[in-house]
């Protein structure tokens, strides 16, 4: 009898699999039914592979200096798009196509490096604040509010000033201004989770606070935070570019989209492409991750999931 039972268990185990796949299939179906989100995903993947190749396998592409711009002082004035330069050139004779391909690397990784630590710090603080509540919540959230209420670009400038104008300081500055957003977001998400009775059930089972936070609350708060991350990548790239544009970049010739725009800025009347093309790539990325994030949000939203 018992053997039979276990055998039955085995077969049932196999039978359950399709059920699990059904959930995943449904998620994919929801995502792919949003055509804009799919377009966003495609563009995002293009940026991702560009960044991946340049970071780890630069030899694939025929670039002599993958990590810096190659100026051509013989012909510094921007040239319009042609067969030789499909995107045209920008100020000191830099070929825009190559420059853009190189620049995406820095912007992409920098965005990730900022958003992920920011999200982790914010999540931890948000979860701790909500779970314990009381004065811990008060103190943590007031600090968050203070940091949050100063315009992030301005704060980044101020912090950058203190730490010096290097790439690392820019990164730290942006992480410091970005975590409050996640702390607030994580708080609003965990507040909902905390009200659910399975948290109380876990406490009644003698589970420690630490374990409740990371076994129950965190996994249930992650999906919306993940969506927020995907939405934020674009904003961060915009911010980095804005900082580079106003001259926050540590070294000249560093391939960066905002810096490229600022190079073309002086020629806006005579050579508009020099500014428009790098600008377009910034906007395109922001747009793509936004569309993609919307798709993800549809996936995790139970209301939209069950409706059509």
């Amino acid at each position: 009898m018992k053997e039979k039972m276990s055998k039955k268990d085995m077969t049932d185990k196999n039978e359950i699999k399709p059920d699990r796949w059904r959930e995943l299939r449904l998620s994919l179906q929801v995502f792919f039914s949003n055509k804009a989100a799919v377009a966003g995903l495609v563009i995002f993947l293009f940026y991702f592979f560009d960044a991946l190749i340049l970071q780890f396998f630069p030899q694939i592409l025929p670039f002599k200096h993958p990590y810096s711009l190659t100026p051509n002082y013989a012909d510094p004035i921007p040239l319009p798009p042609s067969w030789k330069h499909p995107f045209g050139t920008t100020y000191p004779g830099v070929d825009l196509l190559r420059a853009v391909i190189k620049s995406i690397r820095l912007d992409f990784w920098l965005s990730l490096e900022i958003v992920i630590p920011g999200a982790i710090i914010g999540l931890i603080i948000g979860i701790i604040a909500t779970y314990f509540g009381g004065w811990i919540d008060e103190v943590l959230m007031r600090i968050t509010d203070i940091v949050f209420s100063i315009p992030y670009l301005v704060l980044a400038i101020a912090i950058g000033y203190v730490l010096g104008r290097t790439l690392n300081s820019m990164m730290i500055a942006l992480i410091l201004v970005w975590w409050p957003l996640y702390a607030r977001y994580a708080r609003s998400v965990t507040l909902e989770t905390k009200e659910l009775t399975f948290i109380e059930a876990a406490r009644a089972s003698g589970t420690s606070n630490f374990k409740i936070m990371f076994k129950h609350i965190l996994p249930n708060s992650l999906p919306p935070v993940f969506v927020q991350i995907s939405l934020d990548l674009g904003t961060i790239m915009l911010t980095i570019s804005a900082l580079a544009f106003i001259g926050f970049l540590p070294a000249a010739n560093l391939p960066e989209l905002g810096y490229l725009t600022s190079l073309g800025y002086n020629y806006i009347q005579t050579a508009p492409w020099a500014m428009i093309i790098p600008g377009l790539f910034i906007v395109l990325f922001a747009l793509a991750v936004n569309l993609m994030g919307d798709g993800f949000r549809d996936v995790i939203d139970p209301r939209r999931r069950s409706e059509l």
């Binding site: 449904l26 179906q29 409706e307 059509l308």
Partner: protein
């Protein structure tokens, strides 16, 4: 002989207000088509309380909302019709479903919009609805009085205008006469006739509501009634109120920005007055203060009374009560049930009372319909249903209800069928102890098994009763 007379009498009295014929409604979702209603046959007669019982997911709420036309955009009207006063408002949706090769909710939503527009003239006027959760059915940002007055403003502005104008037209002499009539005859036709002859019919409900109040001395009532007359009114206001009174609808000039606002303010002021009178009639203390409160300042029971007031203020022919007491405590539930019983006595409206709790239905209903898996499986007079339940589901349901008098409880084994993929034949087959081969083949229709008692079950096929 006498029996026959009775029935003929009854049938003329019990003409249906709403008739649901073989109604099918399916929700189109990503996980497949959810077949919420699968051929509902039901009628609601004049002046009765029809209780609709069933477990969650049996489609009882969907049925109520379908009658109101309040269905989401992914709901397809697959078959059948709902006649409200002889008119099928959902017909365009059904036509679309029949015509379309593939059901598209966006297209459905466009048609639904038109249906909504058409129905908004009868909603709140001929049929109205009370929702389950009193905490969320009122708009938290608007005063209670506003939310009541709104129904009058959109459906019955003539009444509001005539109330205001009557107070202007009435003379002191009139008021003295009115009091005399009231003192001699109480509230009856004589009063109406007098008011009609003096063209101040708008005073009727004001006078009556004051006269009916129990918390005032007659002398005080007289004083208040006397004060109703001779209200000054400026000529401009008078003009547009007269237009509204005559047409009993919002005139076109009410869309002009500033004038519209003036009209609205005047009518709403009157609406608040009517609202507080009506709440007083429903037995709510401090009604004149309550109309200026916001929903969050009221308790659940009070809110549910307000919702009922909104549903009842236009004296609708049918009120659909969708689980009006299940979110409330027992003692408050008893109050609300008592209120509904009183309303049933004092108005000639019909009620459709939806509840999962049979014992609540036993308190208020005249007839009861039992629903299971999107179908009506048994319908009949309350006494018949409780004394001789015919359908196996009804019988088992009765045994599953715990009562204060302890009896053995028997749960119904098994689960409700998956409505995305319902079985062929009788839906209750899998849980039914009397299942027969025929049950797997086709769905039973409603069969008459007694006077005004119908069951959808093959056990009673073949003239057994």
């Amino acid at each position: 002989m006498s029996y026959k007379m009775e029935t003929s009498n009854l049938s003329s009295n019990l003409a249906p207000i709403v008739k649901v014929e073989n109604f099918h409604l399916h929700y189109y979702t990503r996980r497949g088509v959810y077949k919420a209603l699968n051929g509902v046959n039901l009628e609601i007669r004049k002046g009765e309380v029809l209780g609709v019982a069933g477990e969650s997911g049996c489609g009882k709420s969907t049925l109520g909302r379908s009658i109101m036309g309040l269905i989401p955009r992914n709901a397809a009207v697959v078959n059948g019709r709902i006649l409200v006063d002889g008119k099928d408002y959902l017909k365009p949706l059904n036509d679309y479903y029949k015509k379309a090769k593939k059901f598209k909710p966006t297209k459905n939503a466009d048609i639904l919009k038109k249906v909504n527009e058409e129905m908004s003239s009868i909603r709140g006027q001929k049929i109205s609805m009370v929702f389950q959760e009193p905490m969320t059915t009122l708009n938290p940002l608007l005063q209670v009085g506003y939310q009541i007055a709104e129904v009058l403003y959109y459906h019955n502005p003539g009444l509001l205008a005539s109330r205001r104008l009557s107070r202007h037209r009435a003379t002191k002499e009139d008021m003295k006469n009115i009091i005399k009539i009231l003192k001699e005859n109480g509230i009856n036709e004589k009063l109406t006739d007098y008011l009609k002859s003096r063209n101040i019919l708008g005073l009727e409900d004001q006078v009556i509501s004051i006269w009916r109040r129990k918390d005032l001395h007659d002398l005080k009532k007289e004083q208040i009634i006397e004060k109703l007359c001779c209200e000054p009114i400026n000529s401009f206001t008078k003009k547009y109120l007269e237009v509204i009174e005559k047409e009993n609808k919002l005139p076109n000039f009410s869309r002009v920005p500033i004038i519209g606002r003036l009209v609205k303010r005047e009518l709403f002021k009157e609406g608040y007055k009517k609202a507080s009178e009506f709440l007083g009639l429903l037995g709510i203390p401090n009604a004149d203060k309550m109309v200026y409160m916001y929903p969050h300042e009221l308790s659940g029971g009070q809110r549910q009374r307000i919702v009922i007031a909104i549903a009842m203020i236009n004296n609708p022919e049918l009120v659909i009560l969708d689980e009006p007491t299940s979110a409330l405590d027992v003692t408050i539930q008893a109050q609300i049930l008592e209120l509904i019983k009183e309303l049933k006595e004092s108005t000639n409206s019909s009620y459709m009372f939806i509840s999962h709790d049979l014992s609540v239905l036993a308190e208020v209903s005249d007839r009861i319909a039992i629903m299971y898996a999107g179908q009506v499986v048994e319908v009949g007079k309350k006494e018949n249903i409780f004394d001789q339940p015919k359908h196996p589901y009804t019988q088992m349901l009765m045994e599953a209800i715990p009562t204060i008098e302890v009896h053995e409880l028997k749960g119904i084994k098994g689960e409700v069928p998956d409505m995305r993929n319902p079985p062929k034949g009788c839906m209750f087959r899998d849980r039914c102890p009397y299942a027969m081969p025929i049950c797997a083949e086709k769905r039973p229709d409603l069969i008459k098994v007694g006077e005004d008692h119908y069951v959808a079950c093959f056990l009673y096929e073949g003239g057994k009763s």
